[in-house]
Assembly symmetry: C2
Homo-oligomer: 272 residues x 2
């Protein structure tokens, strides 16, 4: 999906919501466990209930990998089921030397046809650039993450006061463009969003951490939004686990709609 | 496997060789392609031919993941086939927020019974500590990698001249011990090994990059070895792809033996 198409979807749906498919066999409603593929069945119903309110889905690859071969099958089926006008992100946080990163890129972009994959920057340019070589695909690089440990190294400062995540933003801009790269910035770091926007005014940001991790949607929009919106705000657990009875999907749809309605107000105020 | 058991194996075999199983369907001998599971068949023959000369095997997870479901099956079978006195490393470079890292740890330690997994440090403490909660298992944290891009961020310096990889070594020592953590230090960075040994005198180092990437075994040993050896030196392509006829395994065995013989001299000179 191109940047223009993504922006079109955001305007059309008045939403910049990404639904995180962190589907955990231990947390899904027990009535699904009798079915042949409970993970896919859960995702299918969640997708049916939320697809009008979101512009992206983000399966967290660890959850599928931990189920072994059946988990990978459920993931493939989920990808095939997601409507083609919705952006898909493999939250995989991969990154390795060149020939290995190329293998990971092929897995997610070719074998599974994801639009985007999250990548860790620690190993530098040749660990990231193989992901950028796939036309029409996106690399979403970790910059400043929402978790507590995010401050252990990402804010490591050089002698000029520049922090590691700022260095990552600056250097990585020479590898790709705002048409094939995005950055992960946690919703718990809204105080840094203005500084980040000074470095990367035009890139999309993938913002996890709204809800369970304590991030605030209005604050994220206030400091992180740009003229194209430029945000994909992710919510996982608060949406997909909002119910655990037979009406779980309906409840998930309601939660997604609530967020979409808040987003519509924000977008409308910004004239987008 | 415990540290004492690993040291015992090193002394017994007079080797600190790790064989990297970067098994690529495009590079294995064509006569294997007729078999039901060419990837496993290749690994099986490589293991038979090299197991007396190495103390560890390191499957590169990207290569199996890129083959989809059949790749995961080949990986499972490979793990089951590796003799129990040989240390096994999932070269996966994972790392995510706590609940997700826990999922990855379960995949590699519980479902596949690897002894160790490589982990990227960018997301900090809570992305790494879930891997440390598995008894008898090891976390191998990226410190200073062998690839060109390794210098993009890992040598980012603070106002006191401390580099990011040194910060990673220092901070991460508070998360685990030399009984459950190792570090990745590329063989192309031998000039840094003495400094690294000052920070972590007792930890094992996993050292890739000897051979194809230009690292030198004698230099690695000179600057990186400690009283227990403290090194696992990895070689992948130079061993497993040294032949591509029906005698590929024999050739791989010869390459592994050559490295083992060099290692035996180094160990003997060090009185280990």
């Amino acid at each position: 999906m191109t940047k223009a198409e993504l922006i079109f979807q955001i305007k059309q749906k008045q939403s910049f919501l990404c639904v995180g498919l962190d589907t955990d066999i231990k947390k899904i409603p027990t009535h699904l466990l009798e079915l042949e593929d409970p993970i896919f069945e859960f995702n299918k119903q969640i997708i049916d209930a939320t697809k009008d309110f979101c512009v992206a889905y983000k399966p967290n690859i660890a959850f599928y990998e931990s189920m072994g071969v059946s988990g990978w099958n459920s993931l493939h089926k989920t990808l095939d089921y997601i409507p083609k006008n919705i952006f898909t992100i493999a939250d995989a946080k991969r990154g390795d030397i060149g020939n290995t990163s190329d293998m990971y890129a092929r897995s997610f972009f070719k074998n599974m046809n994801f639009d985007a994959v999250t990548v860790a920057p620690y190993m530098g340019s040749d660990s990231v650039t193989p992901f950028l070589e796939f036309d029409g695909k996106w690399t979403i690089l970790l910059a400043l993450t929402s978790n507590k440990g995010g401050l252990d190294f990402q804010t490591f400062k050089n002698e000029n006061g520049k922090q590691l995540f700022e260095q990552v933003l600056e250097i990585s801009q020479t590898w790709g463009t705002d048409e094939n790269m995005m950055y992960v910035v946690g919703a718990t770091r809204t105080e840094r969003l203005s500084e980040i926007r000074e470095i990367i005014p035009n890139h999309f940001l993938l913002v996890p951490g709204v809800g369970a991790q304590g991030g605030n949607l209005q604050e994220v929009a206030k400091y992180g939004m740009n003229q194209d919106c430029g945000l994909l705000v992710n919510s996982s657990r608060e949406i997909i686990y909002s119910g655990n009875g037979t009406d779980f999907a309906e409840k998930a749809g309601n939660e997604a709609q609530k967020l979409q309605q808040q987003m519509a107000v924000i977008l409308s105020e910004a004239g987008i």
